[in-house]
Amino acid sequence: MSAVSEGRDPHGGSSSGPPDAWYFCLRILGGRYAFEAPLVTEVVRLGPLTRLPAAPAFLPGVFTHRGEVLPVLDLGQLAGQGSVTIRPSTRAAVVHCGPWKVAVVSDAVEGLVALPRRAIDPPPAESSGMAEFLSGVGRDRGGAIALLDLPRLMETARARAVPTGGGTA
């Protein structure tokens, strides 16, 4: 994993109060998004992608990493906000959610950030775009960080996929 945020209290306040929560932060389509840190196992550089037939737009393909085939998840497409551009230098965070393991593609990887729990606000009331998948919104010296609810996100992706039967590549 890459950069670790400096300090335990990004607001520069006292260390009293609830302990910090650790998140892993990615930049996606100009925004800062983060998963609970324990869900992220590593950061990888994408290899050549193999497209899958009849795949939803949020699944641009699969690739191999150390002999393991990993599916790539494009959160921008899932949220209807456009595609993350995939280049040879593109990196992805490998996340685990129950039986599922995916590589979430990003524009850039920030790395670990610590957010004081008291500084985490509830998600916005709107239920469109990426807001649908948020568990809260945190803030550090770099600005706001949208905290992603990975189980909800994965379940939504599964639910949006059309049942088996026909389709075109």
Binding site: T50, P53, A55, G166
Partner: protein
Amino acid sequence: MAHDSELLMFQVGARVFASAVEDVIRIGHVRDVSPEELVEGTSLGNSFGGERGIVVADHANGTEATLVVDQVLGVRRVPAAEIRPLPAFAAAVLRTAAVAGLVLFDEVPTLLVDLPTLIRERRTAAA
């Protein structure tokens, strides 16, 4: 001890796919097949106007069906260890059941296609 698998390699459009040899009855030319037996426009995509056909048993109808392909590249023997299942997330969201897994050639995944399922899905969609 795991055995090697024999896979038929073929091309539809610009992409290369693999299938189990035992699913294939024979390889032919599309001009030798009646139009109603030809299968095109599957989830593998459209051919470039291919003239080769992979003949597969259509168990649902007790007949044969011919998948139109652009090239038949030959048969490759592949160690079982190089054949991987479709990742669980991909299997959960794909709109086809015709991807049986992935074959790794030099670490790059190639789709392993379940030809009978591919044919069945196409015919169901066209019905």
